[in-house]
């Protein structure tokens, strides 16, 4: 039981990270019907920017651990959001009217560019988050000893997801995003500036992805310039699992995938950890290609 609960909390932490990345894929897909293959790399930038800011600004020394990390998260989110907007401007907007395949190629090109830039700046080796400034203590949750970092990551990802959900569901701008995802032309007839919706989506998605990258750095301590590929594929799987284009779907898909993966690694074989995600992807594509929450209502024509 103890082991099970440990795996469950671990799965939720990793799943929360997947979910945050998956939201970026699903929001961009929702509005542009495009898979942003460079999204995983923006996530990696979050991890690297977090490391640089953490060590160079010594935020945790100056502000204490909690305030320091909070400021760090906000800075990373802001910076990666700016990168997201630049990516949209440079790689996608010029191809808005071109065939779909051009945008896909451009996305892959942007991914390679971003990855290599990172390698040239930081080198190809693993980078390590300083372990002396992060708390390693465990929290006592009803008798279960859970690392503080794990609890914080679950909490932070849940807070971000709930905030995003409320924003999308309850605000005027959020409704405009949903409308543009359904029918861009009709959205324009409502007076919605679709270009601004796209811009907003490329701010929000990368901000969340960047935060996820920082979380990985804080949680595992080790980051690498290629890690965006694996995390990207898994988050993409999570997005498909929940139903691509569906925002609550990405959240549920991410958490579910994290837990399934943790359980699989614990009870089946650790060697199969990464394969589990891909088995889930293949299974979902065969059994329910629209994902768990995909296509809830068919439009009447």
């Amino acid at each position: 039981m103890e082991e099970f609960l440990q795996q469950l909390t671990n799965g939720l932490a990793v799943g929360g990270i997947y979910a945050l990345i998956a939201l970026g894929y699903t929001m961009v897909y929702g509005v542009l019907k495009l898979i942003n293959f460079a999204h995983g790399d923006l996530f990696t930038y979050g991890a690297y920017l977090g490391l640089t800011l953490l060590t160079s600004l010594a935020l945790t020394d100056r502000l204490g651990f909690f305030m320091g990390v909070l400021v760090l998260v906000l800075m990373v989110m802001g910076l990666v959001a700016v990168l997201g907007v630049i990516l949209e401007r440079a790689a996608y907007r010029p191809l808005r009217e071109s065939p779909r395949l051009s945008a896909v190629v451009s996305a892959l090109g942007a991914s390679i560019f971003l990855q290599n830039t990172l390698m040239l700046i930081y080198g190809a080796r693993f980078q390590v988050y300083p372990d002396n400034i992060l708390p390693v203590t465990a929290l006592d949750l009803f008798g279960l000893q859970v690392p503080v970092m794990r609890v914080l990551i679950v909490l932070a990802s849940v807070v971000m997801m709930v905030t995003l959900y409320l924003f999308i569901q309850k605000t005027k701008i959020g409704t405009a995003i949903r409308a543009a995802a359904i029918d861009q032309g009709a959205a324009r007839l409502m007076g919605i500036d679709v270009n601004r919706v796209i811009l907003l989506v490329f701010l929000l998605g990368p901000a969340l992805g960047g935060a996820a990258g920082l979380m990985v750095g804080l949680y595992y301590g080790q980051i690498n310039f290629t890690m965006g590929w694996v995390y990207g594929m898994k988050a993409f799987t999570a997005a498909i699992l929940g139903g691509i284009g569906n925002i609550p779907g990405a959240m549920i898909g991410g958490l579910l995938l994290g837990v399934v993966e943790a359980m699989g690694a614990a009870y089946l074989s650790i060697a199969w950890k990464d394969a589990i995600a891909f088995c889930v992807l293949i299974l979902i594509l065969i059994v329910r290609p629209t994902g768990l929450l995909g296509e809830r209502v068919a439009d009447k024509i």
Partner: protein, 235 residues
């Protein structure tokens, strides 16, 4: 003159669909645009609302040139369109659809009053407030499309085949409502296959054929016109 379209050309890729369309609409009028399938009626409306860009010609709204203005800005200027095929947001609720119609509006009191008026025009939209728009019947969806366009408090309302696919009784109701909307001071441009009903309602009409206006007259005159009778009124 509220709206003037002058020598409008619109192309889809290499194919030109409108070859110099000119028409005008006065404040308070109901103007019908008739024509066979593929004549260019939808293309004309979409060029006015900014969804399509013209390759030549000019469109003026209250004297201002608007053919280069993006669609979303035209809504704020007072041009609203209920597009062909309704294009309601099916996975959003009826109420969310109506709220989106008022996206450019900021005066909450006026929005609420306007919503009340639309609920009076189409009571079913009040009953179905929380229902997903995609689950409405075809006729209800058409009412939602018109109501949604009215939420923008437009000076001019562009309607693309509001009677399409509706039972005769419902067509009558909708046209009755269009009359009420017009009486409230909204100028209407009405594209219709149902030429008889459209000309009964309209003050003036235009007839389009393959990307051109071929006839223009007062509605009664068009109803009496033998050419129009043969082609669009079933003899």
């Amino acid at each position: 003159m509220l709206l003037e379209v002058e020598n409008l050309h619109v192309r889809y890729g290499n194919v030109e669909a409108l070859h110099g369309v000119s028409l005008m609409v006065r404040q308070g009028e109901i103007v019908a645009i008739l024509g066979a399938n593929g004549a260019g009626k939808t293309t004309t409306l979409s060029a006015i609302s900014g969804l399509l860009r013209s390759s030549a010609g000019e469109i003026r709204f209250e004297g201002r040139s608007i053919h280069k203005t993006p669609a979303h800005q035209l809504v704020a200027m007072g041009i609203a369109q209920a597009p062909e095929g309704r294009r309601i947001f099916g996975t959003l609720t009826v109420q969310e659809n109506l709220s989106l119609g008022a996206f450019t509006q900021t005066d909450r009191v006026r929005i609420a009053k306007n919503l009340q008026w639309i609920h009076e025009l189409f009571p079913v939209l009040a009953e179905r407030r929380e229902q997903l728009a995609g689950t409405l019947s075809g006729g209800e969806q058409q009412m939602l499309a018109i109501g949604r366009a009215l939420m923008a408090q437009p000076r001019i309302l562009l309607l693309d085949e509001p009677s399409l696919g509706l039972a005769p009784l419902l067509v009558k109701t909708i046209f009755q409502t269009l009359w009420e909307i017009s009486s409230a001071g909204v100028t209407i441009v009405l594209v219709e296959q149902n030429a008889h009903a459209a000309l009964k309602l309209a003050h003036r009409g235009y007839v389009m054929e393959v990307g051109k206006i071929v006839l223009e007259d007062r509605a009664e005159a068009l109803l009496a016109n033998s050419q129009v009778r043969d082609a669009y009124l079933g003899g």
